[in-house]
């Protein structure tokens, strides 16, 4: 039980002591990515090895000089997910980063690096022929600035004590004992923090609006729906540092006079739900959540709601409707969420990353936060770096960092030496940036000038094997499917746009279709009720603007330069390779292939339906797709 400030201070001091007493800590990445790569088994293996080794303890017991004190910990995402399972061996200030750790490696790591002082070269991170030992030296990590992700990879994501040892709850302490609620709102306002969920609305202004409502029952809601398909920043924070998110929400509750906080978590994130539930239970058992927190009279209760697979529930009013147990449909505004949100009460609704920024701002002050990032967008932003890039993973960089720095310095360039074509920002509500925008600073204002948005932070890198027209069709089909159907422009308009896009990739488009798409887009953008509809046409508009020639090629030349669109593929038999076995002719579902046995066969392009069956099954690789 922690009932007052003194007891919290004592708990922090003892947590800090305890963490210092470890001789070695084995930090196993337990983010969704690494768990998928098998890190849970690696964790269990280390627990087994450590437990079985005499003279080694695995507990939080006081230090015994005859024994080495070891800890095996589960951390949040260590960053380079593609190289998982990741493991860090920490001895005091010295940390060694291992990658792709298999169960078979654990014993060796234990003997060489944990008990001994040897580094296993084969497991180190390598780039351009250089091996890196410490995580902070790896270019992928060295070039980042981590505020929200500070603890990920350093502390046990499940342990309250480790969160304290890393400075956890000092911000809440400061807020509760040294600041009035109005001071807190002011500090956030001055920091220039803007919402990280996509819109970039100033957080301080939102809090002020809630704080000045007459109604005194208010709510704090966290948007953890992370709907952008191809983004996992918020999930990584919820599972990697759940206490920080909760601390941020508690501070918001204090600042805005709310006693109840709700986190709405995306359905596909079971790990986030589990870690948050665990953290809430830990806090409740210590009186750090509930009634009269730290003896200050501040009450705060946390609740978790799981999404049920509707993208539109990421929209504020749909999200609160869903928490209330209704269909998650957006409603007409005003009234706005700050006046009438959850259960018609004033509600602070912010994104996961927004709340996770709060503790550090309170602790270090708004001036510090403003010193990072750009004039219009202070602080850092997390991005998930995916697609055709060398180092996929989770990063955090100051606002205003350029794409070039992110893709080439941090991401290590394109995968398999591919050529950069574009990067999609803002997911299905955003657009693409190309080669000529590589040096544009990424912040809320600048990116808008190029027809896209920062969005929540998904960066999907595309190389010349990606067809931009097909990608636009892909996003259109996503938003069309996710349209809730409440208003006609979105429901019918997205359907019409999708039909046209499908026609184009099927090789049946007309040049007028490009104009039709633009007309429909303008209509939907200006008349749809919520952000889903308003932004649904953006990926199409943005690709038309940047890659009009590809649209024209599909329509006029029936050509897909990335060789992605099935209907554009011209299957050809190479007469020099074909042995005339006749297998392809038998397999072709439409009888497009003919020939005489033991002589080269030929494909009739007017009959071929581009199914690919012949190419897949030719034993002599004689069939290819013509450029």
């Amino acid at each position: 039980m922690i009932n007052n400030r003194e007891e919290l201070k004592a708990a922090v001091a003892s947590a800090k002591e305890q963490i210092k007493e470890y001789d070695v800590r084995i930090l196993v990445c337990s983010g969704t990515g690494c768990i998928a790569s098998g890190s849970e088994k690696v964790y269990e293996e280390f627990v087994k090895i450590v437990g079985e080794t005499p003279g080694v303890t695995l507990t939080f017991e006081p230090h015994d000089s005859d024994e080495k004190k070891l800890g095996v910990k589960k951390t949040g995402c260590q960053g380079v997910c593609e190289l998982g399972p990741l493991v860090r061996i920490q001895k005091g200030d010295q940390v060694i980063q291992y990658t792709k750790v298999q169960i078979a490696d654990c014993q060796k790591i234990f003997e060489s690096t944990v008990l001994g002082d040897e580094v296993i070269e084969a497991l180190l991170y390598k780039q351009n022929g250089i091996s890196y030992k410490a995580p902070d030296e790896i270019p992928f990590i060295a070039k980042q600035t981590r505020i929200v992700l500070e603890n990920c990879g350093k502390y046990d994501a499940e342990s309250f004590d480790e969160y304290l040892a890393g400075g956890g709850f000092s911000a809440l302490q400061k807020a509760l004992f040294e600041m009035t609620p109005a001071d807190v709102v002011d500090e956030i306002d001055k920091s220039g923090l803007r919402g990280r969920g996509g819109g970039g609305f100033p957080t301080g202004r939102k809090w002020k609006q809630v704080a000045r409502q007459k109604e005194t029952t208010r709510y704090v809601v966290c948007n953890g729906d992370e709907g952008d398909p191809g983004a996992f920043m918020d999930g990584s924070v919820m599972e990697g540092d759940p206490y920080k998110l909760i601390e941020g929400m508690m501070i918001a509750g204090y600042a805005c006079g709310a006693e109840n906080g709700y986190i709405y978590v995306r359905a596909e994130y079971p790990m986030s739900v589990a870690r948050l539930r665990h953290a809430i239970a830990e806090l409740e058992s210590r009186n750090m959540l509930g009634e009269n927190i730290l003896g200050t009279g501040f009450n705060f209760y946390m609740h978790i709601n799981r999404g049920a697979g509707a993208f539109v529930c990421g929209e504020g009013s749909a999200l609160t409707a869903s928490i209330e147990g209704n269909r998650g449909m957006p409603r007409v505004k005003p009234p706005r969420t700050v006046e009438k949100g959850l259960w018609e009460k004033p509600t602070v609704l912010n994104n996961v990353e927004t709340y996770a920024n709060v503790p550090k701002i309170i602790l270090q002050g708004s001036d510090w936060f403003r010193s990072i990032g750009t004039e219009s967008s202070s602080g850092c932003k997390t991005f998930s770096l995916t697609g055709s890039i060398q180092n996929t993973g989770l990063i955090e960089v100051p606002m205003g960092t350029t794409l070039r720095e992110i893709i080439f310095d941090i991401g290590g360039g394109l995968k398999d030496g591919g050529t950069f074509k574009a990067v999609q920002t803002g997911g299905p509500s955003g657009g693409c940036l190309t080669e000529s925008e590589l040096d544009v600073p990424l912040d809320f204002e600048t990116v808008k000038k190029y027809g896209t948005i920062i969005g929540s932070g998904g960066l999907v890198v595309m190389d010349d094997n990606t067809c931009m027209v097909e990608v636009a069709r892909f996003f259109m089909s996503f938003t069309q499917r996710e349209s809730c159907g409440k208003c006609v422009p979105c429901r019918e308009g997205t359907k019409r746009m999708l039909e046209i896009m499908e026609k184009i990739v099927a090789g049946k488009g007309e040049l007028e279709d490009i104009d039709r798409l633009q007309e429909l887009a303008t209509m939907i953008k200006s008349t749809a009720l919520c952000g889903l509809g308003k932004s649904a046409p953006l990926p199409v508009l943005s690709t038309i603007r940047m890659f009009r020639d590809e649209y024209v090629e599909h329509i006029v030349d029936h050509k897909c330069r990335a060789k992605v669109c099935e209907a554009m593929k011209k299957y050809v038999i190479n007469p020099d390779e074909c042995r005339g076995c006749s297998k392809c002719a038998k397999n072709c579902p439409v009888g497009a292939i003919s020939g005489v046995v033991k002589k080269p066969f030929t494909i009739d392009p007017s009959v071929c339906i581009h199914c690919g069956a012949c190419k897949e099954n030719c034993a002599f690789d004689a069939i290819y797709i013509e450029d």
Binding site: T32, G33, I35, A36, S37, V80, C81, E82, G84, E226, D228, P229, G230, A231, F232, G235, S236, R266, A267, E268, Y269, P270, S272, N305, R306, A308, G309, A310, F311, S322, I323, E324, G325, N326, R327, G328, M329, S384, L385, T386, G387, S388, T392, G393, L394, Q424, G427, P428, G458, V460, M462, T466, V471, F474, F475, F478, C484
Partner: protein, 156 residues
């Protein structure tokens, strides 16, 4: 007709969230968590217990993609078709599962009730694209070959 055990279990779940309208979604989620689908009779029962109309309960349940009134297979295979997975070629993986298991765009569950194949738009492991989730386990860096192996493995 469902046997009594279904109702006993449902009562337990209702008790966790309380008899109030706002509990509808979490209750349905937990029922589906246990039975892998939402039996219609139970939904009617839940509506009555938490004080909402049956029509309301159905209108909510049908709004959300995750609720299913059809029983699902023992293994629910969700093939990710989020952006990151899409550009790293998730389509052939879905094709492999569908073909190997004799399913189609309309038929999602095998007759022996072993497999259900669905798509999902991001599992949060985009760094390891393309991905597939089987029940709650994420499988990274999938290929059509790995998909075939996975089916074999699950068949046991």
């Amino acid at each position: 007709m469902l046997d009594q055990s279904y109702y006993t279990k449902t009562d337990e779940i209702i008790a966790v969230y309380g008899k109030k309208p706002a509990s509808l979604i979490p209750i349905m989620q937990d029922i589906q968590g246990v039975y892998r689908y939402l039996p219609g009779e139970l939904l009617t029962y839940v509506a009555e217990q938490i004080g909402i109309t049956e029509a309301k309960a159905y209108s909510v349940a049908t709004f959300y993609e995750n609720f299913s009134f059809e029983p699902k297979g023992k293994y629910v295979i969700k093939v990710c078709d989020g952006t990151a997975c899409h550009v790293r070629k998730s389509a052939p993986i879905l094709d492999t599962f569908t073909k190997e298991l004799g399913l189609s765009k309309k038929k999602h569950t095998t007759d022996d009730m072993m497999f259900t194949v669905e798509t999902v738009s991001c599992l949060g492991a985009c760094g390891l694209a393309p991905t597939v989730m089987v029940n709650e386990d994420v499988h990274p860096k999938m290929t059509p070959e790995k998909a075939q192996e996975l089916i074999k493995e699950l068949r046991g």
